[in-house]
Structures are given as structure tokens and as C-alpha cells.
């Protein structure tokens, strides 16, 4: 193998873990900041009761579109039937752009574009929504 390729291979192999860490290291969420951000959700959502949107109690680990008695959009029900579950990853993508992640959702909200704010909100939801 020519020396150039050997050096290039070394750099690629050496840089790969760094790139992996950078790509796989989402912001750490702060539930205190997240509680403040949750204020934005309070026209439609509550932790404990169904409103225009479904309650968030028991959200983490719950199948999408599955709160009993809540009138979901067909799109949201279909996502749940396809196996989608609310966890940190799905919440992050949904909150970033709800109508792009689940087209047809009734959550007509442009989304939270700041990754740190999403992490904070998810940290709060994990804490506040514990239990069923």
C-alpha cells in the first residue's frame, strides 16, 4: 500500500471515534429549564388531563396515539399501529418539526428548532410524565 493511502487510512480510523462521539452526543437536558419551556405547550396540553392534545402522564414508553378515549388524527393512530413509541429519539424528531415527522398530525405547531431546548423539554417530560 502506498504511504499516502496508509496515512489517510490512519487518519480516517483515528478520526472515526471522534466523529461518532460528536454525532452521538446530544445535548444533556435540564428538567428545570424544560419546565419553563413546557409553558409553550399549555394551550393544548397538560400532564394530567386530556385537552386539545392528549395528557403527557405516562408519555415515555407509550405507543404513539394510544391514550384511551383521546380523539387522535388518523396519522397519529397509524404511526402507533406501525409500532412507533414515544422515547427520547422520537420525541426529539417530533418536537423539532411535528408536521414533517408525522404528516397529518393535528399538532399544527412549527416545532422547537433549538436542540438544547428540545433536550430540556424532553428531560422535563421524562420527569413529570412518570407513571401512567
Amino acid at each position: 500500500m502506498p504511504k499516502f493511502f496508509g496515512t489517510a487510512m490512519f487518519l480516517i480510523v483515528a478520526a472515526a471515534p471522534v466523529a461518532f462521539v460528536l454525532a452521538a452526543d446530544p445535548p444533556r437536558g435540564d428538567p428545570v429549564r424544560g419546565e419553563k419551556i413546557y409553558g409553550r405547550c399549555m394551550a393544548c396540553h397538560s400532564i394530567d388531563r386530556d385537552r386539545t392534545g392528549p395528557r403527557h402522564k405516562g408519555l415515555i414508553g407509550r405507543k404513539v396515539g394510544s391514550v384511551p378515549g383521546f380523539n387522535y388524527s388518523p396519522a397519529m393512530r397509524k404511526a402507533g399501529e406501525a409500532g412507533m413509541v414515544w422515547d427520547e429519539a422520537t420525541l426529539d424528531k417530533f418536537l423539532e418539526n411535528p408536521t414533517r415527522f408525522i404528516p397529518g398530525t393535528r399538532m399544527g405547531y412549527a416545532g422547537i428548532k433549538d436542540a438544547q431546548e428540545r433536550a430540556d423539554l424532553i428531560a422535563y417530560l421524562k420527569k413529570a410524565s412518570a407513571g401512567s
Binding site: 409553558g39 409553550r40 405547550c41 399549555m42 394551550a43 393544548c44 396540553h45 394530567d48 388531563r49 386530556d50 385537552r51 386539545t52 388524527s73 408536521t99 393535528r106 399538532m107 399544527g108 405547531y109 412549527a110 416545532g111
Partner: protein
């Protein structure tokens, strides 16, 4: 509540202004923005985005209907004293105006407006409302959420007239929120931007 006394004085001055001007401004402007726009329906019928716009409007309608019911609960709680009670009733009137307009617009676009629930079905946390401040804080939370909800809806409408109308309602909700914060002794406008 002693901490709220200065706010009451502000309320008295604002009440005079609000009761004279607030009730007609939104309806006239918003009707011109939305329900009176014949081109809106024509344009939307050509667009595949009609369903999406109707869905967003219906979501907003549901939140407005809940706000109307929430203010009714607050007004009937016996916890609100004048002039706060008068303001609550006036804000409720604004939410009714928003809801009426949103329902008419949904109909104009060929959709079916969602119907308001009975008050009991909203399951408001009435057990936590023991003082006037509790009621105001609860209302402030709804208004804050409404500001964010409309802010999040503005860029999604396919029709810019709807975005403009949503921004008009957003401004009204933001004023409610600021006045409620003032009444609670909090900074009425804590940030340069709403989010």
C-alpha cells in the same frame, strides 16, 4: 393580597381603555382578515393545503373554546374581585370572538368546526384554585400557551391571510398574558421575544 394592590390600580386605568376599545377592534379587523375574505375560500379550494389549514384552525378553535370555559369557571368561582373579575369577563369575550371567527373560517374553507365540550368535560383542576392569585396564575398559563401555539401556527398556514389573522390573535393573547402577570406582581413583559 397586598402584593397585588399596585396592580389593581393599573387595572383600573387599563379597564377603562380596554372596555372602550378592545371589544370591537379585534372583531372588525379579524373579520376583514378572515371571514370576510371571499378570495380565501376560492384560493383554498384550489390548494391541497386546505385540509392542513382547516386542521390547524380547528386545533386553535379547541383551545379557544377551552379558554372560554376556563374563564367562565374563574368568573363563577367567587374568588375574583372587581376589577379583576371585569377583566376576566372581557378576556373571555375576546376568546369567544376568536372562537367564533375560527369556526366561521373553518366552515368557509369547507371544513366542520369542532364543537365545544361541556365545562365538566374539560376537567379543570378546580381543587387547586383557592385564591384569586391561583385563578390568575391558571389563566396566565393558558394565555402563555396560546401565545406559543399561535406563534407555532403562523408559519404553517398555506394561506398568508390565515397567518396574519393568527398573528393578530397572538397579539391579543400576549396582552392578556402580560396583564395577568402584572396582576400577579410579576414582570409583565419578561423577555424581548415570545417563544
Amino acid at each position: 393580597m397586598e402584593a397585588m394592590q399596585p396592580s389593581f390600580r393599573l387595572f383600573s386605568a387599563r379597564r377603562l381603555f380596554l372596555t372602550r376599545s378592545g371589544q370591537t377592534v379585534l372583531s372588525a379587523a379579524a373579520v376583514a382578515l378572515l371571514a370576510g375574505s371571499e378570495s380565501l375560500a376560492a384560493e383554498q379550494k384550489k390548494s391541497g393545503a386546505k385540509t392542513s389549514d382547516v386542521s390547524i384552525l380547528n386545533t386553535a378553535l379547541g383551545a379557544e373554546q377551552e379558554a372560554v370555559a376556563a374563564y367562565q369557571v374563574g368568573a363563577e368561582s367567587g374568588l375574583l374581585q372587581k376589577p379583576v373579575l371585569d377583566l376576566a369577563v372581557q378576556f373571555q369575550g375576546h376568546h369567544k370572538a376568536h372562537a367564533d371567527l375560527l369556526a366561521k373560517t373553518v366552515t368557509k374553507l369547507g371544513g366542520k368546526p369542532i364543537e365545544a365540550k361541556r365545562t365538566a368535560e374539560y376537567k379543570f383542576p378546580v381543587e387547586t384554585l383557592k385564591t384569586q392569585a391561583d385563578v390568575l396564575r391558571f389563566a396566565a398559563g393558558l394565555e402563555q400557551g396560546a401565545v406559543s401555539a399561535y406563534l407555532g401556527a403562523v408559519p404553517l398556514f398555506a394561506n398568508r391571510d390565515l397567518s396574519k389573522a393568527a398573528a393578530s390573535i397572538l397579539g391579543d393573547e400576549a396582552m392578556h398574558w402580560a396583564i395577568l402577570r402584572q396582576a400577579l406582581g410579576e414582570n409583565p413583559v419578561p423577555d424581548a421575544f415570545v417563544s
